[in-house]
């Protein structure tokens, strides 16, 4: 049995030996990625499709360059596309060897051209799961159990493509699927709020972010807002991830832009679709336009602030304004145009 990332025993031993003290974990993005993302790492990607994707961390990984990465997630859009795009342009600088996932695409905005390019040209190894089975793999990892039984993902071809095992339930006698835990080397997450120790508050759906955090060896968190520890201590039932599961806290407003971040901003559809269009064009042979995007928005900037600086203010403003309000309160707003 091949464990990608850590085996359950390795994952347990690592956490046992880890310094779990409550200490200041603030870092710069550069430092966080330098410290915790290595060549060959299995990266657990937080968020869901294009919601709360850890875009800023992905940009920094691309800037620094890493080889032979493994990406693990249930459903994701922009982050795998950014990483695969970087690989498509310069495989010597950044490469992804394998993806373990259920869905890679953009829902309303269509399929992932980068996934298509990579698979149809046999450039990466893929392992298919369902959203639940991939989520449950992180959950098993977070719970400290080596596998978990589930009642889906069986009976078809998916189970032939992954490491799940069919068995009989020893109590009910019925057929059930066992899936192995996933322990990424590093979990990359964007949350709305965190304190300096790493206690995180997620607004809206948690997706599988808490599970990824608890399952991973190390965790980098970017947050829209760094909040006083006192706010955490005032209502600890709202803490989604406890401090001792987090290794680096990077205060980074708009760290998941242009994906949606509950209560902070909605999608920047214009930017998302612009990038998506460039990946579509790449698959059809236009390398230069995509390369120009990377040069302008990722390699050509030092950090996320400079990336955001390149977004027209009316796009940014609109994304923030339409978030968390009903249809009537959106009607007077004029959507920006590309």
């Amino acid at each position: 049995m091949l464990w990608t990332g850590l085996s359950p025993d390795e994952a347990r031993t690592y956490i046992e030996q880890k310094d779990k003290s409550k200490r200041d974990k603030r870092m710069t993005m550069t430092e966080a990625v330098q410290t915790f993302v290595k060549d060959g790492d299995n990266i657990g990607v937080g968020g869901f499709v294009n919601s709360r994707q850890p875009v800023a961390i992905a940009h920094e990984i691309i800037r620094q360059g890493r080889k032979d990465l493994i990406l693990s997630f249930q459903s994701a859009g922009l982050v795998p596309d950014y990483l695969l795009g970087a690989m498509a342009l310069e495989p010597e600088h950044l490469s992804v060897q394998r993806m373990e996932f259920a869905y890679c695409g953009h829902e309303y905005a269509g399929t992932s051209s980068m996934l298509r390019y990579m698979t149809e040209n046999e450039k990466i190894f893929i392992e298919d799961w369902t959203n639940f089975s991939m989520s449950a793999r992180f959950k098993a990892g977070s719970m400290g159990i080596p596998f978990i039984p589930i009642r889906s993902g069986q009976g078809g071809d998916i189970e032939k493509c992954n490491r799940s095992q069919t068995t009989q339930c020893p109590f009910s006698g019925r057929t059930i699927l066992l899936i192995p835990a996933c322990h990424p080397d590093v979990g990359i997450l964007h949350v709305q709020e965190a304190d300096l120790y790493g206690n995180c508050r997620i607004k809206g759906q948690t997706f599988t972010c808490p599970e990824i955090a608890m399952a991973s060896k190390n965790v980098i968190v970017t947050c829209d807002k760094l909040i006083d520890h006192d706010i955490i201590a005032m209502d600890p039932t709202r803490t989604s991830i406890p401090f001792f599961a987090v290794d680096a806290v990077v205060e980074l407003p708009l760290g998941s832009y242009p994906t949606v971040c509950h209560d902070i901003h909605y999608y920047d559809k214009i930017h998302l679709e612009h990038f998506k269009g460039l990946t579509d064009a790449f698959r059809k042979g236009d390398r230069d336009s995509l390369a120009a995007y990377y040069d302008a928005y990722i390699y050509g900037v030092a950090d996320t602030d400079q990336f955001i600086d390149k977004i027209p203010y009316n796009q940014l403003k609109y994304a923030r304004q339409i978030e968390s309000r009903n249809l009537e309160l959106q009607t007077h707003l004029t959507p920006p145009t590309a």
Partner: protein
């Protein structure tokens, strides 16, 4: 006399049919795309008590913030009853709390199995498909564990095929008796398939797809002509009621004015 629309698109027909099939007060797990439009239309018409569930974690929202672009979108959370994450949503499904799974697929076979993974030879070319699709997402889970499912597929011969290139979301498997039970699945599988051409069910015995109703302007023959396998025909086959002007107005003016999922 009902005031029917005369000008409507295929997507609008599908959405209308889907909304009408959703029973009021049921818990509906909606996939991305047309199912989201359908469930919103149902909430505004025959199903004000419908309880939508979205896989990213929202249970029972009122969809009043404009159409979500994603099932993980913040718009799926408005005035919800309960919000957690993906594991929670799928555990509710596994436990039996979801009455209906409402999902789309790229390729379907006579038994309601769906392919949303790849076009190409499997397993030989799994690592080098002709076309790589996005993958199962949550559909593979809903198809296993919702009490039953309603499927939406584009009605084209190359999408309605006797044998799938890859079995992503499990329907009635090979149609044999108790096949789902034997495989360890809990839900009853697909109950309806909605296309712009027809409303279909599954034969009780053979579990093969059966035309229950033809969409306005279609006939059993015209439906069969765009289907890559032999369809059974229900003895009481009927013509499905066209969308009303009000349904079309709601889709166009209220639910999906910018035609994100429902083209005109």
């Amino acid at each position: 006399m009902t005031d029917y629309a005369t000008d409507y698109s295929r997507g609008e027909m599908i959405v209308t049919a889907g909304a009408r099939l959703l029973e009021n007060n049921k818990v509906i797990f909606a996939g991305t795309g047309l199912p989201m439009v359908g469930i919103t239309l149902a909430q505004l018409t025959n199903g004000p008590g419908i309880i939508p569930v979205f896989e990213a974690g929202a249970v029972g929202p009122t969809l009043d913030r404009s159409l979500p672009l994603s099932v993980g979108d913040s718009r799926t959370t408005s005035r919800a009853n309960y919000i957690q994450g993906l594991n929670s949503a799928f555990e509710l499904t596994q436990r039996g709390f979801i009455d209906v799974g409402f999902i789309g697929g790229a390729e379907i076979d006579p038994y309601g199995n769906l392919n949303s993974t790849m076009i190409g030879r499997f397993p030989e070319n799994y690592m080098k498909p002709v076309v790589r699709l996005p993958g199962s997402g949550g559909a593979g889970d809903m198809s296993c564990s919702c009490t039953y499912t309603i499927l939406i597929v584009q009605h084209e011969p190359r999408r309605f095929v006797e044998k799938l290139q890859y079995y992503t979301s499990i329907g009635h498997m090979d149609g044999s008796k108790g096949a789902r039970q034997k495989a360890g699945l809990q839900g009853k599988g697909p109950k309806r398939v909605i296309t712009s051409r027809a409303l279909m069910g599954f034969d009780d015995e053979t579990k093969r797809m059966k035309i229950l109703a033809t969409m306005p302007g279609e006939t059993v023959e015209s439906v069969q002509a765009v289907t890559g396998f032999d369809l059974m025909v229900d003895e009481d086959v009927y013509e499905f009621e066209p969308p009303t002007k009000e349904e079309i107005r709601l889709i166009r003016d209220v639910i999906d004015p910018t035609q994100i999922f429902c083209k005109r």
